[in-house]
Subunit: 128 residues, 2 copies
């Protein structure tokens, strides 16, 4: 039963990550990249999106370090996108920590008559 702290600073970070992920196109891109390396044109074909839109979403994903980029060694015009594994691991851990159901504590609210949180006997005592 160790206490896992969740400071407010982390909520801002978590929010930034969630905002990046809370977009259907970017989720689909991530899903495709989980299946392996893809170039811009491949993603555009698969998702029926213009290449500039792919670029736009990729820059958002790159900004949070979730996606890596490398140029083709033979033909440097092609660019390959891939998931940054350690970034994904950290993301996964952050989620698991923040949304961990075992973190939920029972507590009486500090306002209101708190009737609903009293036992049945306590409630009947008050009402009599």
């Amino acid at each position: 039963m160790q206490d896992i702290p969740v400071p407010l600073a982390n909520i801002a970070t978590l929010n930034k990550q969630l905002k990046v992920l809370a977009n259907p196109k970017r989720l689909q891109i991530i899903h495709l990249l989980m299946e392996g390396v893809h170039c811009n044109c491949e993603l555009g074909d698969a998702l029926n999106m213009a290449p500039n839109l792919i670029s736009h979403h990729m820059s958002i994903l790159r900004d949070v370090g979730l996606v890596d980029v490398e140029r083709d060694v033979v033909d440097a015009r092609w660019i390959y996108f891939s998931i940054n594994v350690s970034a994904l691991e950290k993301l996964n851990q952050a989620f698991e920590m923040f949304f961990d159901p075992s973190r939920i504590k029972p507590r009486r609210p500090s306002c209101g008559p708190q009737g609903s949180l009293l036992s049945v006997e306590e409630v009947s005592l008050i009402q009599s």
Copy 2:
């Protein structure tokens, strides 16, 4: 090594959940509710927000089933909000499944000369 399928229908669901979570105020509300039951006024005081804004965010959290509501038994004007544990568990599982780093597969892209994915020997063969 079992294959965990991630159908496209689930991406839409996941996106909906992520959009609800990708908001600093709602993350703070969730964080406070993890610490235990709170009423509207308590949340408003803690987060320095007007009660109608709290209500608004609560309805969004309720719509996805993440938050439960119950009226005070003694004084029904007070309303207590709490986290729906099973909803949080499902959310946690969905995240863990979708963003699981072990899902990442290596793959050669189907476009480009694929130079960067060739071995050093293969590349030197092409370039000679």
